[in-house]
Symmetry: C2
Subunit: 294 residues, 2 copies
């Protein structure tokens, strides 16, 4: 049976050298020459049976998702991912080759954005698989876009069709980093979030943080073909688009009359979320997305 230190030795052979990181995995801590810039930091874990199913999803897909969820948080702030550290709680029966595949999945996602994996921790145990990634990003010339800047009259937009990601997209998506950077550079974006918890819940995060409300135009919500495919479960495609999680598209608000692309609603003074139906009546839009209960 291979040991943790064999795995660390293997990882060291996989790491490119870098001026940013004079000392990567293998000491007590990695050393980073952080550039003179704001640093953005977040952590996100994926849990077997919650965010993936290790009986169905392979280790490369699981590693990729773990990294991509963090890269999607970078997109949500319009920052550039620079470096990450990863930890893995590995069931005892999986072995070193499984751990290597997890690492290669993490790497494939990070490499797509020139983000380096500079440290980690691997432990085997009698429990289920957990992969945790901490991401470090930098502003690189663009003020980070928070959730709290939406103003009354702003328009509400998404970057793609929503709903039904459970059919497979939740494991394999492209973090909208380039799109976020371009939007934040070219438009007066006032607030942004990535759609992980579902439109109704994530829009609620923006509205509450900004002290405003929002009305969504039901006819304007882009419904993904996966949401239509899922209609058989008795929930309408629109409800899937409004409440399903893990689309990993961006939801953002912009100053009025600047962006008409995929506009789905607007910010209003009255608190709460509302759905404007085709007959022009409004009904409350209650959050129906994913929330961990503790």
């Amino acid at each position: 049976m291979a040991g943790e230190f064999d795995f660390i030795s293997w990882i060291r052979t996989q790491q490119p050298s870098s001026a940013l990181v004079p000392l990567a995995a293998g000491d007590d801590l990695a050393i980073v020459n952080w550039p003179a810039d704001l640093m953005l930091v977040g952590v996100d874990q994926v849990l077997d049976g919650v965010h993936f199913d290790s009986a169905r999803h392979g280790p490369r897909d699981i590693g990729r998702k773990a990294m991509n969820r963090n890269l999607s948080d970078c997109a949500a702030m319009a920052c550039v991912p620079v470096a990450a550290v990863a930890s893995v709680a590995l069931p005892r029966d999986r072995g070193i080759d499984y751990a290597k595949q997890l690492y290669l999945g993490l790497r494939s996602a990070a490499d797509a954005f020139d983000c380096q994996i500079i440290g980690g921790d691997t432990g085997s145990w009698d429990g289920r698989l957990v992969v945790t990634v901490t991401i470090l990003g930098r502003a690189d010339g663009i003020e980070p876009v928070r959730r709290s800047g939406a103003k009354v009259g702003d328009t509400v937009h998404v970057t793609g069709p929503l709903g039904g990601s459970i059919l497979g997209r939740h494991m394999n998506f492209t973090p909208r980093i380039q799109w976020a950077r371009q939007l934040a550079r070219e438009l007066p974006i006032t607030a942004m979030i990535d759609l992980s918890d579902g439109l109704s819940r994530d829009l609620g995060h923006i509205a509450r943080a900004s002290g405003v409300g929002a009305v969504i135009d039901a006819a304007a919500v882009p419904v993904h073909e996966d949401a239509i495919e899922l209609r058989r479960d008795g929930i309408s495609p629109l409800d899937h688009a409004l409440h399903d999680g893990e689309d990993y598209e961006l939801l953002f608000t912009a100053a009025p009359n600047h962006s008409t692309m995929l506009q789905i609603g607007r910010i209003i003074e009255e608190p709460g979320l509302w759905l404007q139906q085709p007959d022009a009546t409004r009904i409350p839009l209650d959050p129906g997305g994913w929330e961990h209960t503790l």
Copy 2:
């Protein structure tokens, strides 16, 4: 049942405001005004049944240990801990009060070193408890002390008695940050590590990274009273001191004739580790400490 977002709201009430962190938990990422300095980064997880036993250890003790292991890595590099992010995979039956106690344990350890917890991720699941901490430190005027600088002729030292931490000290220890900073400032320290895997294994890390060997004087190894207490298990107190893990004292090498405090051996050219016995004979010192097998 309380939700993840109630927990995040509660955490926000617990966070002091800070010039370093203009935006902490509550957005997609925290924003940090990183000072112009080297950044040191590491991640370390604690797993139920491996690093603690949640049937015996309370959530405050578990949170404190999770943070203190990372702070001990800062000690090993002689850096100053600045900020941390933490993630928790929480068994479904534990509830929000348990999560709050975990957070307060993390905070009690971090507060002792003015280290801020600036972000996190909490998820409930059907698995066992995992607490993962990522630590960010800075050099603050002292060149980080690596494992790789030990030279032939250097003396080998430890900061305290070893062995038997399983009796309780492994859950409740003080990271040797002040000691590390003072040592690195005042002495020609050449390599350093914190004793988490056990003396024989951690000294092996220094020896391999430095391309040297080491000989330990059996009579000079400081044996903790817990190691003596454990004698009943048939393993000698010296063997406990040599091989037990989780003492969280510092093991360091220094240029010759500079430090005689708790000197336990010296660095030699011949690769490998050796134990010099009271009769002056040498026997190989094989690593007997903790290693995760994958």
